[in-house]
């Protein structure tokens, strides 16, 4: 089957320090990326294809570019080099509560966030019970109170619940499975397994070997922005482990 994510020589550059001396004139007429002296490539030369239904785990140390890569696939960062083509819709579990507005009630927020990700009002009506049911009793009884009164756990639960109700065939997950209490984590895992069983494509960033092994079959190992290994999840985890255990390895 045709791949659903095609990354071709993907690369993105960032400023090493956030303090930049940019004049307005320079920015507009030359483009902001001309100050190449203080730049570094957060991700570079990333080339891979992911087929439908694959479950891919992204492995690597902090700052190796995992989240950046995920964001380029989600379309919320634009690559400076190369292309990434995503042929199907994406449900990004990235900033879970980003769409929520503290002043509005949880109910309004569900409609709002689901709407931002492309669900119509009728579609939300249909799924409303499932969304709330998944988020739990605590959330249900507080549906009509302002969202800012929710505990952070409840907020994330609701966020997770909304995004995983989207129909999108590709799911991008950035370190969100670790949130919530024990019970909710178990629930999340069950939901993820369901989604995978339905044949969705999963792209998972995590530091939890357990999660990676549980959900993923394939692994990409990122080191300093380069994909150094593309294989089964066990192989890549093994490589990552031996690299990070090695004293003063090349990443330092």
């Amino acid at each position: 089957m045709a791949p659903v994510i095609i990354a071709d020589n993907l690369g993105i550059e960032f400023y090493r320090s956030r303090k930049r001396k940019l004049s307005l004139r320079e920015m507009i007429f030359k483009g902001a990326t001309t100050h190449s002296t203080e730049m570094f490539w957060a991700v570079r030369n990333a080339t891979f294809e992911i087929g439908p239904g694959e479950a891919v785990g992204l492995v690597g140390a902090n700052g190796s570019g995992k989240s950046t890569l995920l964001k380029m696939i989600a379309g919320v960062l634009i690559p400076d080099e190369g292309t990434v083509e995503v042929t199907k819709g994406v449900a990004p579990l990235i900033e879970l509560t980003g769409g929520f507005k503290g002043e509005l009630t949880a109910r309004d927020n569900i409609y709002l966030t689901a709407g931002l990700h492309g669900l119509s009002r009728d579609q939300v009506d249909e799924r409303f019970d499932d969304i709330v049911g998944f988020a739990g009793q605590q959330v249900r009884s507080a549906l009509d109170t302002p969202f800012r009164h929710f505990s952070s756990g409840m907020q994330v639960r609701l966020g997770f619940s909304v995004i995983t109700q989207l129909d999108e065939p590709i799911i991008l997950v950035d370190e969100v499975l670790a949130v919530g209490d024990r019970k909710f984590r178990a629930q999340c895992h069950a939901r993820m397994e369901n989604l995978l069983a339905e044949g969705r494509t999963l792209f998972l960033v995590s530091h939890s070997e357990g999660d990676l092994k549980k959900f993923c079959t394939r692994g990409l190992y990122l080191s300093s922005g380069e994909i150094v290994m593309d294989g089964t999840i066990d192989e890549t985890l093994e490589a990552y482990r031996s690299d990070s255990d090695a004293p003063a390895s090349g990443t330092a």
């Binding site: 960032f14 920015m27 902001a32 919320v76 634009i78 990004p92 980003g98 709407g115």
Partner: protein, 266 residues
Amino acid sequence: MSLASRTGAVWRRREVVRTLVVRDLQVRYQRSWLGYVWTVLDPLAMSAIYFLVFVGIFKRGDVGHKPYFLFLVIGLLSWQWFSGTLTDTARSLLQDAKLVRSTNLPREVWVVRVVLAKGIEYVYSLPVLALFAIAYGLRGDVHFSWRLVLLPLGVALQFFLLVGIGLLLAPVTALVTDMQRVIRILLRMAFYATPVIYAQLKVPHPWNRILELNPMTGVLELQRAGFFREGLQVRAVLVSVVASVLIFLLGSWTFTRLERSVLKEI
């Protein structure tokens, strides 16, 4: 991506824009039921002040058309939309940074949404304008004419102009946060360089020619044309249309150009 395809992309996501605008208005009016009162109270209070100063104290109501109070209300309602949008669009990418970072929408949506929300507030305030127009009309002070049809055109032109300016300011402000202060100062200056509290017609040469270059001059001409006897300044309107198109092109170009850097920064 070309301008046409980007415009198309925003249009295809109009449901999302609608959701966002509704949210903005909800938040605004949920916080206090006085929300609506505030939107109209501010321009009305300002109108009263200018009326007092120019007519009550200095007896110079002739700087604008008659009735001067109605002239002020039209101008200040429109100006409130203009200045409110400028301050807010400049912040639009920063304020909802989390949303911009987590949803793959055409980024122009964040600008258009602010202009629309403010525009709807403006439209909501039009009944107040109508009220004053009718009140003055009953006294026989208003010169209603067919040119009232130009009012919606003026509103449309202002919308278009604001989208252009918003596309220009939003990414620049996201990269250079000082811009917000600069914009505040520029806005205050622009207020006096715009025929809000005076009519372009009454401005002596050569200042009136300079004033003509301000795109808001033509916008206000269109919005006021149906209420007053004075002739429409056609040239100012034409300049305004041309300037709005140019600003829109410049804005879109800047936005596309800086989008990449903005996404990295926020």
